[in-house]
Every structure is written in structure tokens, then in C-alpha cells.
Symmetry: D2
Subunit: 438 residues, 4 copies
């Protein structure tokens, strides 16, 4: 049973005059990138699920395919035949309106369908998409759904990388996703500069052309007090100072829930950090490497970010403040996302002319925790139908992260983007930037 | 070891010209009210802890006393002698800076100190407070701390009632806290009227004279879109309609976390509701009584409130919207709080002249869930020292509730008041009022 | 609804010629002893349940009364009126055939019925029992059930003491159940002597006159290999040597399940032991006292006892071996049970003439772990009806303990007695004696 | 680090005159059978771990290889080089004395070492074993360890099958391990006949030539009462009658722990049974098939077996009784083990001449629950060193099963064999046979 098509279309901008050639090109590129990202992995690597929050590579590859099959091909391509009637059950994630599904914590048991079958599934759907995109059946709604499918697959590309890193981190051999590349000698990072920004009414949220998720709108005005935001991200060197000063052993620095979480889980450093013979090492996509003091800290929870900010006498930015800062000229260059293939955050370039007057590295390197809970903007309404489950039903208990990371798909980042995680989660490329009241 | 005194005083308004006579009178009244509230209970009733969220009556009586002893007498009363050196360990709740403490989940094991000892503790502290309030040692800071202690004890008065209700609800005899009073025949409640309110910049938060908690400030401007708010609370009759329409069995009405919570806990009705021979009964402070359709629904979680609002095609108000509405003339009469001794929410008075133009029952009857996460206002800074732990460290994972309930101490309610609970919690007198965008 | 009367009577020996005067006297004494044991406790002490394994004092007092009411008075006393129709639900423990019951883990929520009500319940049942025992209605079955009720209440007398000790051990004030009595200066305990015993066919189990539980029979022959058993119990001094030699940190000494249990729970010493300034203290019914090296170790699990025996190059006795040893002349003097009111195990009397040839302290001081799982004897059949649930349904996952402890009711101990606990449990007066193959 | 060699050799019968040719042949056959059993599985199938009790196929293949490498080659083959220094950490199971190891619940994360690497590991060790077996280094101890390694690998062959069945049962596609073979039309099974056996002293345990595990000895005399044992296993038809008669809803049939377990887990039928449109289906190594009434019931826990026996008015046999029966002429033919490749229990052959006078199917088809806890025989001593951890440290909390199943390796079964599982476990081929007192 196909889910009912959404009728009040979100994401926004389902304009009729979308450039279909461009859309098709991006569709093909996105589908190809997923295959490329999976290519260093064995079929064994691709089947495991290392925790409930993570999914197997194979599942990611199949699920994004199911998304196109269900919302584009079944809904809009006349005469489309399902590749396998059992696959929707296997690869639906959380769309209640799209039918029942295999339980999330058991995704690691999906040895069948095999990887070969999933590859055949991808090929089948790619072929059908190719036919469909060249046909006259592509109306505005269908085009919007293809666009959504591309963005959806891009999100899973990032998850594919963060999830396999998590799985590899728990294996005894600490395998590398790829061969290590030489690390440039790292400079001393200069002190943080706080950049003052005006209060008053600011316009927040996505507007104008270009794709955005429904949770980025409606654009609206927001009253802010004067504030300042740091020109650079918090680095591993900063974090080591926090640790050395008792950051993980001083309850008064922490939120009550955060302290309980840190105690229960025995946190003493960021996730993936490991002390070996009095030196800190860091499990990365290139395997276990020494912690680099100059690069942005990552794999920290909201609780840790918040404690760090309190220790530093500052606070985390609100998401609106972050967005205002990100709209400063020069702040939103898409930097070190997946496009650069660095697969790790890079050090701050203090030599840049605007390094002390414009916040750096806002789109790329690490997602930045904000002090804002993930809640709907004024006037937000989720789409009807299964697509409406994309974002809205998660608007509770999570915190907004802004920016983009070194694992974010190229072209996927923008200043209005809102992602969201629970305050205890750490397995994404998560870092922080300080703010304060003026 | 006494906690260090706070130096940047919050709550606000620690003005020197506080009326000491009035303060002393309210202190005495508050201390007496706690004793009165405990009076229907046996020493056995007062010792149990029915869940981790709740505390024994005896512990409440002792803890509020410890608060005065620690923050007022030890810090400000020259020569004050501790009643018992072991009591601070027993009765500190969560103030890390005030020293170690008995673990919260084990409060129900405190058969010793005995109730008699706790009563002697109260008498000892009351006497010392009486001497202190008549002395010249009461400076502005001390007066503020007495005020804080009064408000703190008032909060625990409400908890004392909700916690004993929870304990009694789990006992096989379903005992009543007090004898049932006659229930007036209940009228049919008229349909909800949505009252339109203007958008634009609104001033939010406590300002001016009078006590407020630090989390109610700083007062600040907030930009709102036009909205409407219901003139009345959602009633049990409304809730029964939601239940009859599949409210508890339709996942698309629910937040993702909410649905998981409801399934895990088998929720099919509000807490304390019980189906006996096809009729719904309700465990109350007067024992098990039939559900009254005309009175406001209560003992529902945020998840349920949110699902109801979605079912009704509306939403919950933001806390700022709620506060704007509560400042309408006539909306903030302190109604059915503990002052009336009703100990249950009462039915909407549709005969009131302003019943369709002004929101009713905003301060009293039930706390109202808002769509706002509990976060600091712009410019908020927690006080230094142990008193600073009062509010700030809980600003994560909880939702703001506004208003006051039938169990709130008299004089404790105000339009700027913010209380906060986790979205799954239900044992307080929690209800809801609908809102929508205009 | 009264449970159906058992028809194939167990316990054994329901002979017609039971001495009714003696039975009545013991009934009165037993009922009185329970009241005496509860007398040092406040009503608050009597209501708490400190863990699922333990029950509140008030519940014990009421449950044993329910047992008499249900199985004796309701079943055999013509015209007996229930004291309160709601009490069977409150005070049935685990007799499925006697109707539904309040859940075990929630016994600590029974603030109602009040202690006063429970005392009235006891008085009501005592009076009815008094009338009944003087009547002609006491047939052989009824007499057997009174005997069973007496023994049942005696078992709960021991639990009452061990359960309140557990509750007090978790309180911050470490209260004493009674005032400490002077400790005699303790001698050095001589080394253990292993006493050789013959193999061959031995008769095991209860036979002859006198009460015994059904699980002590049928008496039967059992083939044993030659073995030896220690003349004395393992002492605290012995245990300290085990600890000093890495007993708690050497996995090869432990059963696999035992090691997992010890790690999960962080065991480093017996339950109730506490290290304060480099000295071991012990929470007892007389409060926190220094560990006495000369007295038998107690409050250890089966896992610890088994690890100790392996460390000592020996093993625990099988229950049949223990029974054979206990039947040696002089071995089964009822020693330090509740009759002596010591309320703690006492030191070995090395001056006794038979101290190296006969095992000492087999009935009193501590229960002794055996290597035998709790299973039915050949030919065992549980009684029909609710009384048949007394023992049989627990014959899985538990280990047999033999002997009796300093908290066992006077007259309750005998060589064939089998009690049983899970291998991880420690809150009873549990100790050990070594054995080995010959 | 190699584990220290065991010095007091167990298993028994490390006689010098072992036939080395025969040993070598069986070694080669056993190693080959493991490869054959894994051959229907993909590399993805082989990496998953579906529950903590189960292990991945790949892990089984590597672990048995590690066993030979560690205990035979490292200890006895001069100059043997470890295949990979990291593998002992990966593939040690529970031998504390053989060094640290990867945690059991995380075996499913071992995507690396890859299956190819594990196959190379097997080839490396096979080659080294081949060289070793032809050398003069094979002393009696080494020969015994090779024998132990063969038997160890055979045990894991059974686990390999039961573990993959468990994993497949949880997948949405319910894949078959192999193609279904035609089911013969099944006869009506005749009623059970109880076969009387004498009491008195019986000799129990392994003695004489041939391999046995240490836990099968020492052989010793045991006194039994007269008893009877069923000529056939309990069938699915029998089990359906138990279910129809309320077997799963009648608490008085169950052990207390068993009832709690059944309620917690919602048991209403054997593991792998599934009701589809009012018919029971059964997940097998041949996929989902209708339950066959004539074949022995399997995948039941001890708790269920015990409840069934009580319902039938009988009991489970003690392990000694079972062994006495198994020594009857004709009873211990090795029947339907892995040698027949049936991979499922088969129906009782009522046409056999001795079908009512000799117990059938005692070695093959299903393991049989006994009423005996897994405890050491009189005189049992575990071997010193890591090999001594094989059996002894599990002698607590588990029940003995006797016989062998349709998944037991050919030649692995014997009358004295003792395997052991926790009473709640169901994923092995577990069934039952009734017994009773005479």
C-alpha cells in the first residue's frame, strides 16, 4: 500500500519552473555518491548495527532507495512495479503512514535481503527514476519529491559515515574506513575573539528560491538582545584545558541531567577518545590517531558543550543568534564538507584577513550545539500524509544543531538548516562555538 | 559546612524596604499551613515514597525546614546551633554546594529520624526564625532568603499533596486524603471560544515589586505572531471524546517520543483513571470517584496534551502567548488554588459575563502545558552559590507549565510564573488549554 | 473465597493424637513472640520495604495472621467472620489458589491498613483461635494446619529481623534495633579440624514424630562417598585472610555466574561490611560495630562461599553430608538461636571437650550454604490446594541451606530442615562450613 | 601469552595408546564438517549475533580454530607461529587464564577480521595441525588436547546451527538455511507407555575407554528408588493438547520462577511457533513450516517442560534415571543426529518391535530436560589451567540435559553425556520425556 500523497506540499518552493535537467543531474550524482561512500566497505561491514541509534550501511543504501520508490515512483510513475513486495517492510524507517516496518533495533539482523539484492534494488529504482525523469509525468509535486529524496539521501550519506565510524570504534582491530592521509603540522590556534552583533528584530528561517526542509520555515521575525559570538570553534586544545581543570569532575558546571548522564556513562573525555600511555588518541575514519590540539573538538554531547561554556564563563548561542551570525558576509562559505573529502574537521585558518571579525567555519567541519530546543517555528504546519512525518514528530526532547560537518554532503548546507539530536548523543561530528550576552 | 552565601542576589527585588512584619506573618502562616496539610496523615503515611519523582510527607516537612536552617539561620543568625548535625545529610535535596546528601530514590527508607524528631526539628527552627525575625540581623539578603524559603515551602506544599495522592493511588484500599465533599450537579460545558490576540512585540517576564523566581526574568521583549487562545480548559468530557475517537491508538496524532512512551507504559487514559464495569473512575484526594465530565482534565502528560491538540486541529500555546493572555484584565484572578480548599479542579463558570471574551481559570485548577521548552530567558544568569542551583541546572529536557493548580499555595500564583516538568510526567495537577495561529 | 482445603496432608505426621494443650501453648507463645520482636520498632519502621526480597514488619505481622485466618479459621472454624474482606488481598503472599493479592514489590506502600488496624486484626484472629482451640472442631487436619501456621509464623519471625536489619542498614543514621550489649573479649580461634565420615548408604530426611515441612521428606536412602566436614564455621578472621589474598579480585576462584554477579554489584566484602578509616565495620541489629574476627562470617552469598571454599582447597558440603554430620551425637544441640537473644553469631567454644571430634554450632548462629540445589526428594509430592504452594513451586534456581541461625525461632531448628535461597542473596544470617572428599 | 598447560589431565583416558591415525582422521573430518555446515551461508549471515546467548557463524569458525591454536599448537608444536597476534583477543570465549578477550555481547561487531581472514586462519591452523599430527611431538597430553579440540568443535557445530536458526527467525524474510525436503505423511503417534525400572544402587558416569568430558565423571554409585520412564518423547500433538487445556494460563502448573518468566516474556507456545490464521507454524532450518503433530516438541524451556509434566501427572526424570534407562539394550542407538542430515526431530517409529518396552530416540532428535541441577559428581575436580574452565565454572543455576539432538555432531553422543542450560533457555533443540515414581 502506497502512502497517501502529501497535499499541502512542504518542503517549500515546489515551484513549477524547477530546472529538471539540473534536478536529474543532482539525482544521479547523489545516487552515485552513496555507492562511492560504501565502496571501501565489505559486505560484512555493511550489515552490522552497532547501537540502536545507528543503522547498517546496507540498510542506508536500501532505505533511501525505498524512499524514492515509495514517494516518487509508486505515487507518480504510471505502471511502476515494486522491486520486491517484502522490501517496504524491511526498509521503511519510521513512516507510520507508509505501513508497518521491521523494528529499528533489529536492523542489524537483516542479513537477508543480501547486499547483492540491495544493489539490484538500487539499480532497478535508478533505472525507473531515469525513465521517469525523462517522461512527462514529472509534475511540480513529483519534482519536489525528487528534490526531497535527494536531500534525504544526502542526510543518510552523513549517517552512513558516522555509523560505520561507531561500528569500527567498537571492534577490537580499530579498522580505518580509509587510509590515513598526512596531517599537516598544526599551528597554535590564536585566542577566541568575540564578535558583537546587534539585538532587535531579525528575520529568521528559509525564504526565497532553493530547497529547504519544512522545519526551516515559515520565515519570521524574532526579537534578539545584543549578543556576541566566537570567531572560531572550540578546539581540542581548549577541551584538554577544560579536562585538566576538572571539567568532568565538577558537578556545578553541569546541568542536572547532564551530570547524571556523565556519571552513569563514566564520561571523562569526548566519545572516541582513548588514553594510551598518558596520551590521548582519537578513533577516526582513518583509524586511531593522536588527538590534534589545533582542530575543532568533536563527538561531544550537548551536556558537555553546555558544561564547557559555563566553565568558560560564556554560553552556547541560541539558534536564531547563530543564524544571524551565519548571514554575515563571509561567514557562510561552504567549507570543509564532504566535498573536500577531508572526513575530519580542520584547523582554524588564523591567517584569513577576516579571521577576527567574521565567524569562521560555520558551514562545514562540525555541527554546532545551540541552546535552543527543537520546536516548531511560529506558523509551522507539518505536511499531510507520510512525508509530513519527516520532521514534525521529532519536535520534543532534542536540541537544535546548526551548521554542517566534514561529513555533510556537498551542497547540502545552508544558514537556515536545522538538525536535531538528543542532548546525550555524541556519535555525530558535533562541536561548539561560544556566545555571550552584550 | 554551610553553603556559601549567594552574592548576586536572585530572586530579584531584594529591595531594602521589604515589609518585615508582612514577611514574618507570611512566614508563620506558611509554616503553619504545612502542618495543617500533613494533619490528616498518619506517621505511616508520611514515611513512604511511592516513586522516585515523589517524596515522603515527612521528608517534605523536614527538607523545607532544612532550607531555612541552612540558608537563613546558619548564614545569617549569629550563634545559631544546628538542631542535629546529621540532618543536613538527610534532608538536603539537590544542592551540591550545600554538601553531600541521602540519595533521592531512598527517601522512603528514612524511618529515622522519626516523625517526632522532625516535628521537634520544625519547632526548633521555627523558634529560631521567630527570634531571628525580631532581631536586627535581618538585612536585605536575609529578608530575600526568608522570602525564598517561604516560596520554597509553598512549592513543597503542592508536592506534599500530589505525592500523597500518588502513594494512595497505589495502595489496595484507595484511601482518601480527606472525606469527600458533595459534588454539585455539573452543567454541560459550552463549546470552546478562541480569543484572538495581537502579534508584535510583547514584554515578557517578571518586573516590578513582589517576589519572583530568577527564572521569571529578566523581563524582555518578545516578537509574537497573531494567535488565539481558548477561553476555557479542556474538560474530561472533551477528553472522553478524544479517547472515543481513537486518541490513544492513532500514532499519527503523537510525537514520536510520546507514542513510544504511551506504548511502553500502556497508557489508555489519564493517570489515576480506572475503568470499572464500563465506567471511568478517578482516584482523587477524596478517594475514587466517578470521572466528572464538566471539570478540567488533569494528570495528563505533555505527550497526551500535544496529541489532543493535534487531534483537535489546534496546538498548545507558547509560554509567551500564555503570559500575554494571562495579562488580559480579568484573566489572572487567582481562582481555585489551595486557598479554596477544593483540592480538585472545578467546572467552568459559563455564566460569567466575560466567559467568551477573556480566558478563564488561568491561575488555579490546573497547570497548563505549553509548547515551550524550559530554557533561560535572554540575559538570565543563575545566582552564585548553592541558591543558584534552585532553577538553572534544570534547564534541559523539560517543558514549561504555566498557571497554577488547585493544590498551589494561596498567594503563590502569578502570570509570569514558570514551572517545569518532563514531558512524560503526569502526577501533578496538569491539564491544557488550546491555542492556534491567526 | 477460601482456598480449598488440602486433601493429601503434608506436612507429614498429622497423627490424630497430637497433644492439643501443647499445641495451644505453642500457638500462644509464638503469637506473643512476634509482638515482642516488633516492640522496639516505631510504626514508621514497620511500614518500609527496603528491597523486593524484604517485607515490612507490619506486613509480616498481618500476613502470618492471614495464614491462620485463611487456612485454619475460614476452613475449619464454623461461623468464623472475616475481620475485613479487603485484608486477604493485602496480606496473601504468593498463594495463587488463595486468590489475587497485592504485588510483592509494593508492600512498602501499604500505609493503610494502618498498624493499629493490623493490631486489631491480630487480636481478632487470636481471640478466634483461642475459641477454636477450645472447641470440638479441631480435627487432625485442623491441628496440622495450626502446627503449620506456628512454623510459618516462626519463619516470618526470622525474616522480620533480617528485613529490618536490611532497612536500617540503608538509612543514613544506621539505627540499632536494640541497644548494644557488651562484647566479650574474643579468643583466637584454633585452626579447623576436618572430621572424617563414612560413605555408603545413609538415611536422609525427616521421619518419626514431630513436625517437619513436606520438603524434608520422604525419608530415603542416599549413597555417599567418604567425606570430611569441618568442626567449626568459617570466621570473620578467615574471611579477612581470603580478602587479603585477593579473594574478591581473582576470577579463577569463582563460578562464572558468581564472578559476573560480584562485578556487577561491586562486591568487595560481605554485605553490611563497611570500611571506615582502614578498619572494617559491620552493620548489625545492634548498629554499626567493628568486625569481630572470632565470630562466624555471615551475610555472604553462595557465590562467595563457593569461592572461599575453592580458595581454601576444599568445597562446600552436600546437604546429605551435612545432615549425616548433624546427626552425630552432640552436633545438633540447638545452640544460639533466637532463644538466647544474642541476635548475632557467637565465637566457637574451643574449650569444649568434643571441639575437634564433633562439628560444632550446626543448629544456631548461621545458616550454612550447601553445594546442593533445592530439588524435591525422591517420591516428593506437593500437597493439593493452596498449602501445596508452600514449598514445591520454589524448587528451581535456589540452593539449599542447612542448620539455623541466631535469628531462628526457638524450637524451630532440626537436622533435616531445608531452607533455600538464590545464590546471590546475602541478607539472611548466611555463613559456611568446609567439607572435602576423603 | 599462551595459557599454562593443564597438569592433572582431564578429560579422562589420556592413555598413551590412543590411535593417532584414527585421531587424525577424525580431526580432519571434524574440521571439514564445520566448513560444510557454514557453506549455505553468506558472509553477511555469518557476521550477525542475534542475542547474547548466540554467536556469529564466523566467530564459531574462528573460535574453534583458536582453541586448537592455543591449547595444541602453542603449547605443544615446537616453533609454531601465531597466525595473527590480535586473534586470541578476538576469539577467546571465556578462558580467563588464556588472557583478555572481546566481550561476548559484542561478537556481532566483529566485521573485522573478515571472513576471508578467518578462512585463512583456519587454513593456517589446519596446515600446522597436519604437520603436527605427523610429527613426533604428539605425546599423550597433546593427543588428549586434540581429542578435546575435536569434541569442542563438534559442540560448536551444533551451536552454529541453532544460532543461525535464531538469527533467521528474527529476520523479516524468514529465510531457510536449506531447501525444504518433503515431509512424509505423519502417522498418529500411539499413547505413551511407561517402562518400569528398578531402584537400588546404580553405577553412573563415564568409565572405560573413549573420550568423555570431565563433568561425566568420576563414575560412582547412586541409590535410586524404583521409577518408570516413557518409551517416547513428548510430541507436538501432546503439546497442543497441553496448550488447549490452558497450559500457558494456569499458574498452579508452573514453578514460581517459571510462571514469572513466562509472563514477562509473553510465552504462549514453544519458541519459533507462530500463529497464522488460526494455524501454528514453526520456524525451522528449512524455513517456516506447519507444526507437525507427530514429531517431538522442541524449543521449550525447562519451565515449560516441568509444567507439562505436572499437567500430565508425571515428572521429569532425574539425570541418573535417564542414564540408567539409556543403558538398556537398544535404547542408546545413535539415531537422528547430524549424521542423518535430517536437521529436525523425526516421528516415533511405533512399528519397531521394542517400541513399548525400550525407550526410543534417546540419542538424537532432541536434548531432554532432566530434573537435575548441573552440579559436580562426587569426587569431581576441574583440571588445573585454562582447560579446567571448560565445564566446572558453570556448575550453578543450570539444569542438566541428556541425550543428543538432530543437530549434534555424528559420534558425539553417549549415555553419560551431560549438557546444561539455564531453565529459561529455548533456542537449542530441547524437548522432554516423562518419568514417574513407582
Amino acid at each position: 500500500m502506497a502512502p497517501s500523497p502529501p497535499t499541502n506540499l512542504r518542503p517549500r518552493d515546489a515551484q513549477a519552473n524547477v530546472n529538471l535537467d539540473d534536478l536529474t543531474r543532482r539525482l544521479v550524482e547523489t545516487r552515485a555518491l552513496s555507492m562511492e561512500l560504501a565502496s571501501p566497505l565489505s559486505s560484512e561491514d555493511m550489515v552490522v548495527q552497532s547501537m540502536e541509534d545507528a543503522s547498517p550501511t546496507k540498510w542506508h543504501l536500501a532505505h533511501v532507495t525505498w524512499f524514492f520508490e515509495t514517494f516518487v515512483l509508486q505515487a507518480h510513475a504510471p505502471g511502476y512495479q515494486l522491486f520486491d513486495e517484502r522490501f517496504p517492510f524491511c526498509f521503511n524507517s519510521y513512516y507510520v503512514q507508509a505501513g508497518p516496518r521491521h523494528p529499528r533495533p533489529a536492523r542489524g539482523l537483516l542479513t537477508r535481503p543480501s547486499l547483492d539484492a540491495v544493489m539490484a534494488y538500487r539499480a532497478h529504482v535508478d533505472e525507473a527514476l531515469d525513465r521517469f525523469m525523462g517522461s512527462s509525468a514529472v509534475n511540480a509535486e513529483a519534482a519536489m519529491l525528487v528534490e526531497l529524496g535527494i536531500n534525504h539521501e544526502q542526510q543518510h550519506q552523513e549517517l552512513l559515515l558516522t555509523d560505520i565510524l561507531h561500528a569500527f570504534s567498537l571492534g577490537p582491530l580499530k579498522p580505518a574506513y580509509r587510509e590515513p592521509r598526512g596531517l599537516a603540522a598544526q599551528p597554535i590556534t590564536p585566542d577566541v575573539t568575540m564578535i558583537d552583533l546587534d539585538g532587535g528584530l531579525h528575520r529568521i528561517g528559509h525564504e526565497g528560491a532553493g530547497f529547504a526542509y519544512d522545519n526551516e520555515g515559515p520565515a519570521h521575525r524574532c526579537q534578539l538582545e545584543p549578543f556576541a559570538i566566537a570567531n572560531r570553534l572550540v578546539t581540542n586544545r581548549d577541551w584538554l584545558a577544560f579536562m585538566a581543570d576538572g571539567g568532568y569532575t565538577t558537578p556545578t558546571l553541569w546541568l542536572s541531567d547532564g551530570w547524571a548522564c556523565a556519571q552513569t556513562n563514566g564520561w571523562q573525555a569526548p566519545l572516541y577518545w582513548e588514553l594510551r600511555e598518558e596520551r590521548w588518541w582519537h578513533m577516526t575514519l582513518e583509524g586511531l590517531v593522536p588527538v590534534d590540539p589545533a582542530t575543532p573538538v568533536t563527538h561531544i554531547s550537548y551536556y558537555e558543550a553546555d558544561a564547557y561554556a559555563r566553565w568558560a564563563g560564556k554560553r552556547l548561542p541560541r539558534e536564531q543568534e547563530w543564524e544571524v551570525a551565519a548571514r554575515l558576509p563571509g561567514a557562510s562559505d561552504e567549507g570543509n564538507t564532504l566535498a573536500t573529502r577531508a572526513l575530519r574537521p580542520v584547523a582554524f585558518d588564523a591567517a584569513r584577513a577576516d579571521a577576527t571579525t567574521v565567524p569562521q567555519q560555520m558551514l562545514g567541519d562540525v555541527w554546532e550545539w545551540t541552546q535552543s530546543a527543537y520546536l516548531p517555528y511560529p506558523g509551522y504546519k507539518a505536511a499531510l500524509g507520510a512525508v509530513g512525518e519527516y520532521n514534525g514528530k521529532f519536535m520534543c526532547n532534542q536540541m537544535v544543531m546548526r551548521g554542517a560537518s566534514c561529513a555533510t554532503a556537498p551542497g547540502h548546507a545552508r544558514a537556515s538548516y536545522r538538525t536535531f539530536f538528543y542532548p546525550h548523543q555524541r556519535w555525530q561530528f558535533m562541536g561548539l562555538r561560544l556566545a555571550e550576552d552584550r
